[in-house]
Amino acid sequence: MTQKILTFALIAGAVALAGCKSNRDVLPPEAWQPAPAQPQGPAPIDQAGTVPPPENVGSTALPGSQAALIEAAGSDTILFGFDSYGLDERSRQILGAQAEWLARNPQVRASIEGHADERGTREYNLALGERRANAAKNFLAAQGVGADRMSIISYGKERPAVDGSNEEAWAQNRRAVTVVVSGGR
């Protein structure tokens, strides 16, 4: 019986939400009316239990984790210009901060993944992605990160970060990502 009531409450809630969404989608802002407080449906149920709202769950970056790397370095990703594997100022800053974090977390091993946008042939882009990963690795090594702690892999144009065929998407997809592969405690 309780389960039935709960199911009904969920369906009614979903109906109310769906109504809300479609209103917003089809009506201009000035014509929008708030959804009725009481969902439509059969008469109210005589016995209704109460359920407390779910407790909040926050996220904590554990030491040596990908989240900790991103928190400390600002990003795990650096971006590149078209057909380029040169590191700009912003990339150097991010990699510098990544190197510092890697120095503080000597147990961490990282894989650097190189990627290209879709505007290149498949073979060439695999090689270009490798060049980008290698450029990031070399910079990190120059900052003191042991080469034996890093590996590189290229995905060419096979794993874009953003789905889209425009300059904005391509800019996001020309990237090298530092990925923590082991060392999280």
């Binding site: 894989s111 879709e118 060439y124 695999l126 090689a127 290698n134 290229s154 995905y155 970060a161 789905d163």
Partner: protein, 435 residues
């Protein structure tokens, strides 16, 4: 008006006189051809269906193959009576003349006592009533489609003077899922899309499959175990073998014309060089050496040269070198970049991807760098692969929405058509004619 009629007459006359298609210049009007249902004596049930039904289907496949070339126009079979067994040897040409057919492909399907099928295939000139070619093919019921492809190749070959390409297969990469998490699987099918089969599960990213020119072997690149490298895969035994032992990525594998060597690229410190791998001895030889991306190697059909792409001059361009890696010469010039070259099985041309003006297009160029010609015009066409006779080029087309499909185009730049696949598709490679 009268003049135009005269010109038409003059153009039509030679074609009727010798019944031959010139495929080098691209034909303006396809040749009308009749392909009536293949005859059978008493209909016999076989594991592939009754011989009557097979006769209809064989004719349908031949019709579809010929039509797909853009060189032939099959006439609706309702325009003439279906021949009986006796008509195959002595066709009633009047009916086909009335239907305006120039060529007649007719034949039979019979079941043999040992369980095999015999498919007879005959080509006639409707006007001279001359039999141009005839051949019988014996197949198991499971292999009946191959008889239809063999008959198509026979007809194509007799009328064009070139070898055919219908009895062949295509290997490619089947794609599904969102672009950011694309699932890619190796798949193989007949040239017309029949007998489709997935070869890998999709668990590992796979790219760039290529047929061996001599046996049931493929090479492809797999990201299995996060070790992106080239594999050799025997389709009949299921055996797989990683190619060479490298610490870094290997990719863009392609067989030599004799099937004994595989050429591919290996990366090192951000550069890519071309290597040759002797399959029998499992030894590797390095062919290029420099601070550049050297990739997409492809042998000339005589095995003496290799065309490849390199950015050694600043941007991606095509180069030809000797098979031992010596004497590299740049062959592509002009605006834009050039990549993914493939040498034609005829040796006279190299197909490649031309990138210029925001477009990726399939183009051909002579091995000496002359005569560059664009064949397609689209947003992103790439990765050409030649038909076994070097007359048609298969490639993949990606739309701006990310959808990708296989297409083919004639060397003349005509007949840009889609190759049907069950899922989205890329990286096609055309296999050799089956034996």
């Amino acid at each position: 008006m009268m003049l135009r009629f005269l010109i038409l007459l003059m153009l039509a006359a030679p074609a009727a006189a010798q019944l031959r298609i010139d495929i080098t210049s691209g034909v303006a009007a396809p040749m009308p051809v009749a392909v009536p249902a293949f005859a059978t004596g008493a209909s016999v049930d076989t594991p592939a269906g009754s011989t009557t039904e097979l006769g209809r289907q064989v004719a349908g496949i031949i019709s579809s193959n010929l039509s797909g070339t853009g060189l032939f126009k099959p006439i609706d079979p309702a325009a003439f009576p279906a021949p009986g067994m006796a008509d195959v040897e002595a066709p009633q040409f009047g009916a086909f003349r009335t239907a305006a057919a120039q060529a007649l492909v007719t034949g039979f399907v019979t079941a043999n006592a040992n369980g095999t099928l015999t498919v007879g295939c005959q080509l006639y000139d409707v006007f001279s009533e001359e039999r141009l070619v005839a051949q019988g093919f014996t197949v198991t019921p499971a292999g009946w489609r191959r008889a239809a492809h063999k008959c198509s190749d026979l007809v194509y070959s007799r009328l064009t003077g070139e070898s055919g390409y219908f009895d062949s297969r295509i290997v490619y990469v089947a794609e599904s899922g969102p672009r950011t998490k694309r699932v890619k699987r190796l798949a193989v099918m007949d040239q017309d899309g029949a007998n489709h089969r997935f070869l890998t599960s999709g668990q590992s990213l796979v790219l760039m499959p290529r047929f061996s020119p001599v046996n049931e072997t493929l090479s492809y690149m797999s990201f299995a175990n996060d070790r992106p490298r080239v594999w050799i895969y025997n389709m009949s035994t299921g055996q797989q073998q990683a190619v060479g032992e490298f610490d870094s990525m290997s990719f863009a594998g392609r067989f030599s014309p004799d099937g004994r060597t595989l050429v591919f690229s290996v990366t090192k410190a951000g550069n890519a060089d071309i290597y040759a791998y002797d399959i029998a001895s499992r030894t590797t030889r390095r062919l290029t050496n420099g601070n550049s991306i050297d990739t997409s190697p492809s042998f000339s059909p005589d095995g003496r040269k290799i065309v490849f792409e390199s950015d050694r001059g600043g941007a991606q361009q095509l180069y030809v070198m000797n098979a031992d890696g010596s004497g590299a010469q740049r062959i592509s010039f002009g605006d834009g970049r050039a990549g993914s070259p493939v040498w034609s099985p005829r040796g006279d041309l190299i197909a490649f991807t031309r990138m210029q003006g925001g477009k990726f297009r399939i183009a051909v160029i002579r091995p000496d760098g002359s005569g560059e010609r664009l064949l397609t015009d689209s947003w992103q066409d790439e990765g050409p692969s030649w038909s076994p006779n070097g007359r048609v080029i298969l490639f993949s087309r990606t739309e701006r929405n990310g959808r990708s499909s296989l297409r083919s185009i004639d060397l003349t730049g005509r007949n840009d058509r889609r190759i049907p696949t069950p899922l989205e598709a890329s990286d096609p490679a055309w296999g050799p004619l089956l034996k």
